[in-house]
């Protein structure tokens, strides 16, 4: 039974703070380090405090405050704050470092948003080596190793086209991955027992169960003696699965299926593709065939642009994909200009282009799928959330001949309203961020704002919003609905109470899926 003695129930943080365990201090069984953020101000530039917490008696000791507003603090193996990452009021990305508790914080890098950043990824237990990701000098991230004594810096991995994601297990930097389409793993040539164990695990895995499709294997936990590990195995057609790997016995034991509810045979795989757009830029994405779709047979298709826009789609299991695919639609996802993972220059191509080059890539990818014979040109629908919701309104405005039906979920539709409503403008650097991502040409912003072009939105559209959405407030949905009503267009507005920026409750997710399938079925 849970016993919470009120006498001992004092707060680590004041009542107006939130926090997370930042460092479990592997060599100290009695303490962990918590990063604490004042609640109401967590977005507006509060200073993170690192707190050492005794896990036996709850005693707390403040280890220090971040020199930077917002962002994160990274402590070393002894719990000393060593790196601070954050943004200043001008929306510069700033990274600061100090060699020890006694040293002053020094600015490692300070760059305008979008012009690269420095991000610490590991401090070795002995403090002798630090690994950072750095995109201040190159478009894609360089993984660098720094000798803290000599200051000597070495680039240990850099891919000229794709961002590197370092693979670090228990303090050892074993390799890096990139995500062009499928994840590509690069193992460093280092003398490491741990690396050998993991490579052995991958082989043991391949030998012990059938591998039909490409799978991704990740080590998620390791014992102190490094003799047992928890692995998670993922693909695009089934739930991720957990395994226990015994290194000394070279034995793999199945533990759990993450999402047994959706274990279905015969789901269609996500297939990476890429094409060169009309501006000569290579665009990457994923498509999934409709259930039972044969080679050379064009199918109705749903295009699902991702949110952000400065985010990305990756290969993997996505329930949205399978809902549509199993219902008879091919599915298309695009890492359009502005997406992350392909270097900062690629992300910057999307700045000020929400309704421009970004939509052009979504449209050209759709045309690519038609040209490939995957999609039936007369039966294309579009559905997306957040920035994807914006695209689900904007792309049909730009190409009413191409998109015949739409579902715009938790989207923004009035770009000028972004400056006045919602939580982005409340963030200290939010205004500067909007200036960057939207651009400052008010004429162009008007041309990209769906509420001002409702007369061209011919595709029957369902607008779905959570009443408590802080990021894309419900006012956006009302504004678009009003504009469409004035133009006499075919629309439906669904506002769900007690949901926010993305529905969590299964009954609301069920309602949304069912509505979408009915809508696309009757309009495509």
């Amino acid at each position: 039974m849970r016993s919470r003695n009120s006498k001992t129930n004092k707060s680590v943080l004041d009542k107006m703070s939130a926090g997370f365990v930042e460092n479990i201090l592997e060599d100290d069984d009695r303490h962990v380090v918590i990063s604490a953020y004042p609640f109401a101000k967590s977005n507006t530039g509060s200073f993170v405090t690192s707190i050492r917490l005794n896990v036996y008696n709850g005693q707390q000791k403040k280890l220090g405050k971040s020199p930077l507003a917002g962002g994160q603090v990274l402590t070393d193996s002894k719990g000393i704050p060593r790196f601070a990452v954050g943004s200043d009021a001008d929306n510069n990305s700033v990274t600061m470092y100090r060699a020890s508790k006694k040293d002053d914080w020094q600015t490692l890098s300070k760059t305008p948003y979008g012009e690269g950043e420095v991000y610490p990824v590991n401090i070795s237990k002995d403090g002798a080596t630090i690994h950072i990701l750095d995109s201040t000098q190159t478009s894609t991230f360089q993984l660098k190793k720094i000798d803290t004594l000599t200051g000597e810096t070495e680039v240990v991995f850099h891919h000229p086209k794709f961002d590197a994601y370092p693979q670090i297990i228990d303090d050892e930097v074993l390799g890096a991955t990139t995500n062009p389409g499928y994840t590509q793993a690069y193992w460093f040539e280092i003398d490491s027992e741990l690396q050998n164990s993991i490579l052995q695990a991958i082989q043991a895995f391949n030998g012990s169960i059938e591998v039909f499709n490409q799978k991704e294997l990740t080590v998620v936990a390791l014992t102190k003696k490094r003799d047992k590990a928890i692995l998670v195995v993922r693909d695009s057609v089934s739930s991720p699965k957990y395994y226990l790997y015994d290194m000394s016995k070279n034995q793999m034991k199945y533990l759990l299926t993450m999402w047994p509810e959706i274990e279905d045979a015969g789901l269609e795989a996500e297939i990476p593709f890429n094409f060169r757009n009309s501006d000569g830029v290579r665009i990457y994405g994923y498509y999934t065939k409709a259930r039972d779709q044969q080679e050379g047979e064009a199918s109705p298709m749903i295009v699902i642009p991702h949110g952000g826009p400065h985010a990305r789609d990756t290969w993997g299991f996505d329930p949205d994909t399978h809902i549509f695919s199993q219902a008879g639609y091919a599915v298309l996802k695009i890492n359009f200009r502005g997406s992350t993972g392909y270097g900062k220059e690629f992300t910057k191509l999307g700045f000020g282009e929400w309704g421009g080059d970004t939509q052009a890539d979504i449209i050209e990818a759709t045309e690519w799928a038609i040209a490939q014979g995957i999609a039936d040109a007369n039966k294309i629908g579009i559905y997306g959330g957040s920035f994807g919701g914006y695209s689900a309104a904007m792309a049909p405005i730009l190409r009413p001949d191409l998109y015949k039906s739409s579902v715009a979920y938790i989207g923004v539709f009035d770009l000028q309203m972004l400056y006045n409503e919602g939580d982005i403008k409340g963030i200290k650097w939010g205004g500067k961020y909007l200036d960057k991502t939207l651009g400052q040409d008010s004429e162009k912003i008007r041309s990209m704002s769906p509420v001002l072009h409702a007369d061209r939105l011919d595709a029957p559209i369902i607008i779905v919003s959570g009443e408590d959405d802080q990021r894309a407030p419900v006012e956006h949905a009302y504004a678009l609905a009003d504009a469409l009503k004035k133009e006499g267009k075919d629309y439906e507005l669904i506002v769900v109470p007690k949901e926010g920026h993305g529905f969590r409750k299964p009954e609301n997710r069920f309602m949304l899926y069912k509505k979408m399938l009915e809508h696309f079925s009757s309009t495509l």
């Binding site: 039974m1 069984d29 896990v55 998620v220 936990a221």
Partner: protein, 128 residues
Amino acid sequence: MKNLLHALLFLISLDVTANLGVTEDFIKRFSSLPSYTDVDISPDGKMISVITKMPDDKKGLTIFDAENLSLINTISLTNEEEVASYFWANSTRLVIQVGYYDKKMGVAQLASTFLLTLILLNQHIYSV
């Protein structure tokens, strides 16, 4: 007559399914939340822990014996609280970060509460 009625009902239900392209059961399963996430192992390798979906869709924590996978303990929280995340502080002690499902906001949020838990007795020796 009864058979005809059955046949008619059958046709109607088939029609609904055809309209959606998948069965309602399929949509329902794909609308669910995952049952097991965040699997971890204790530093000494003796116990395996996992965030588990409870019958009310809130997240609790289940701990198994790593050798024979027998159940050691289940930790679920009361009211709006749920297990947001957790860490093994050492081989017998967990730090659980409490989250709560905010009815007003409709979103899961982190509470400023950490439970320091002794696993075997399922006793939160201290809550901060």
